[in-house]
């Protein structure tokens, strides 16, 4: 039978209706939550700056102007100038994209890797599970930042290597998360039903296990975006990440550190920017968690 485009659209709408309603409900709860809205606003501004920051920056972030070094905040330099007379605001605006890049790249690699490994471990069980989880445990035995520091020291200091180091440290968290979810879903009645119906493993993974992991992954993802940005800035602050003259925020704090008492604005504003962005992701992440799971309503902690 052939349907006209309009009928097709109506059928599709009908089929999607339950999930659309669910999404609408989620957004409704999210919108009602003032702190989540604030978080979303901060995150949106951050994304905007990461995309367009360089175009609205008043000065070239690398242009030195020794005569005007360490100028306090003024109308011509709203956030002052640094030791080489570079405009702090312009550097800040250019720097947003490095933090955004770090967050996106690290999670874009570590989340799929972690999800796949965790899914395999949870689904197959047995010795595969044992091997994957023991490796995961070893990675989790280290304090994350210190392990990332060791990786970046071995790789050599640069922003790319810091991102690679963080990726190497980050995936085990997702492996453990997804494995736990997969294990509990695997035992559920509906997976049992699907299995007895003769559904393939792949079908069960995509139809039952992954959708059930989406909520915790989404929440962890949002919170982790802040955490990765924070860790990357910390590595850069220590000198393992971005190298000068790159206007990466953590690096800017570290560069201005020596002149803290002489020119506080050089290190204080980039640090404040990091704090705000991380706060935004935390607020949004908490909000999404509450909205997606109203039953829980902040009862469970996400670490």
């Amino acid at each position: 039978m052939r349907f006209s485009p309009l009928t097709k659209y109506r059928l599709l709408k009908k089929r999607l209706k339950p999930s659309l309603k669910e999404m609408g409900l989620t957004f409704y709860v999210l919108r009602k939550n003032a702190s989540a809205v604030l978080g979303a606003f901060i995150v949106a501004s951050f994304i905007f700056l990461a995309l367009f920051g360089p175009y609205i920056a008043p000065y070239d972030p690398y242009e030195t102007d020794i005569i005007h070094r360490f100028e306090p905040p003024s109308p011509s330099h709203p956030l002052g100038t640094d030791k080489l007379g570079r405009d702090v605001l312009s550097r800040l605006l250019h720097g947003a994209r490095y933090s955004a890049k770090a967050g996106i790249v690290v999670l874009a690699i570590s989340v799929p890797v972690g999800v796949i490994l965790g899914g395999i471990a949870g689904l197959f069980g047995g010795w595969i599970d044992e091997i994957i989880m023991r490796i995961t445990d070893i990675f989790l035995a280290f304090p994350g930042l210190i392990l990332a520091m060791a990786f970046s020291a071995a790789l050599g200091p640069s922003l790319e290597n810091a991102m690679l180091a963080l990726t190497l440290v980050w995936w085990p968290l997702y492996t453990r998360l997804v494995r736990g979810q997969a294990l509990s879903v695997r035992e559920s009645a509906y997976v049992e039903a699907a299995r007895s119906r003769g559904a393939s493993k792949l079908y069960i993974v995509f139809k039952h296990i992954l959708p059930n992991c989406l909520t915790p992954i989404l929440v962890t993802f949002t919170l982790d975006m802040g955490a990765v940005i924070l860790s990357c800035a910390s590595l850069s602050f220590l000198g393992f990440g971005a190298q000068p003259p790159l206007p990466e925020w953590g690096r800017m704090v570290s560069d201005g550190r020596i002149y803290l008492f002489q020119a506080w604005w050089v290190s204080m504003f980039p640090g404040l920017a990091i704090a705000l962005v991380v706060l935004g992701f935390n607020l949004l992440g908490d909000g999404i968690r509450d909205a997606l799971d109203p039953k829980l309503r902040r009862i469970t902690e996400v670490g």
């Binding site: 023991r134 035995a141 280290f142 994350g144 953590g250 704090a275 991380v278 935390n282």
Partner: protein, 336 residues
């Protein structure tokens, strides 16, 4: 109980082996030229060649693993590129300072975080709850290194109340390496006062960061406990509010914060790297981070190993403690 401890100890062995192997990969496999990385960027070619022979870097990988484990068992973690001394000696020297800072911060964060979390849950949606939640959120969101600089700026530079950094400037005989202990042992009051003053800023900064998580976890588990059936039962029996909260709910609610404390300790250790750098605190973290130009791989690797060991054993002790509090865990296998 003894059986349980033995089983946990046996479980440590594969983890420890895994940690050693991962450290090997970081130190020997990842660097493009391990000898050069070990010697530091300023080393002369002869020195690099010497290192290459000393650590058998021209041999096949499995032999390198063998020599690495052998060296490790002899306490040889390589030579620091910054201090030119054996890394293990350096770490031993810097270890007490880091432990002191971590323990003080850890205690402070528990003293602040746990009561705040409980209060926040008991008086849910009150002003106290809102304030402690904002504090917790700020604690987990604020970059530690920035907060350190901020308090340094305010309390040292603007107000002049506390010293900017360092550990103890008064002459003090080194017995244990722990300044507080040493000054008490030698009855050196000026040293003790100086040490405590210098401890305030770094330890509170570190504690504030850790407190955030503790408030969130304690609040969450306390809320859950308060809604549980045994609390409803206790209330229905007509027990006073105080008894219900502190005798019934609290005991169960403290288990989740306790389990994360071992992990938190690892986070605190990571935090000390940042704070030691800022507050010129002569600990392992500052040593490992090294001077910014001279990335000191042996120091970083040695420090990473030590911190992993600290974390593994603190988790082990938490597990034991945990099983003492909750008999269910001792009897059945702990759910992962």
């Amino acid at each position: 109980m003894g059986n349980y401890i033995l089983r946990r100890l046996l479980l440590l062995i594969p983890t420890l082996l895994g940690i050693l192997l991962l450290i090997f990969v970081i130190a020997y496999v990842i660097p493009a030229d391990p000898a050069r990385a070990w010697a530091g960027p300023k080393a002369r070619p002869e020195q690099v060649e010497l290192l290459r022979q000393r650590y058998h870097l021209n041999d096949p990988l499995y032999l390198q693993v063998y020599y690495y484990l052998k060296n490790l068992l002899h306490g040889d973690l390589g030579i620091s590129a910054t201090t030119k001394r054996p890394v293990l000696d350096d770490l031993k020297h810097f270890f007490p300072a880091t432990v002191e800072l971590t323990i003080v911060a850890f205690t402070l964060s528990i003293l602040m975080g746990v009561p705040l979390g409980i209060l926040s849950a008991v008086k849910r949606n009150s002003l106290v709850d809102h304030i402690s939640r904002v504090l917790a959120l700020l604690g987990v969101s604020t970059p530690l290194f920035w907060l350190g600089l901020l308090v340094q700026f305010i309390f040292y530079f603007k107000l002049g109340w506390l010293p900017a950094g360092g550990r103890c400037e008064v002459d003090l005989q080194r017995i244990t390496g722990f300044v507080i202990l040493d000054s008490l042992l030698t009855h050196n009051m000026p040293a003790l006062v100086d040490a405590l003053k210098r401890l305030v800023l770094p330890s509170f900064t570190l504690a504030f960061y850790s407190m955030g998580y503790l408030v969130r976890i304690t609040r969450g588990s306390m809320l859950e406990a308060l809604q549980s059936e045994y609390v409803v039962t206790a209330r229905a029996k007509g027990l006073p509010q105080r008894v219900v909260i502190y005798r019934h709910a609290l005991k169960n609610a403290l288990i989740p914060p306790l389990t994360v404390m071992g992990i938190r300790l690892g986070w605190l250790l990571a935090g000390t790297v940042l704070l030691e750098t800022i507050f010129a605190w002569p600990g392992m973290g500052r040593y490992a981070a090294g001077s910014i130009v001279q990335v000191d791989l042996p120091a970083v690797v040695g420090y990473t190993l030590i911190s992993a060991l600290v974390m593994v054993f603190s988790n082990f002790f938490v597990d034991i403690l945990y099983s003492l509090i909750d008999p269910r865990i001792r009897l059945g296998e702990k759910a992962r």
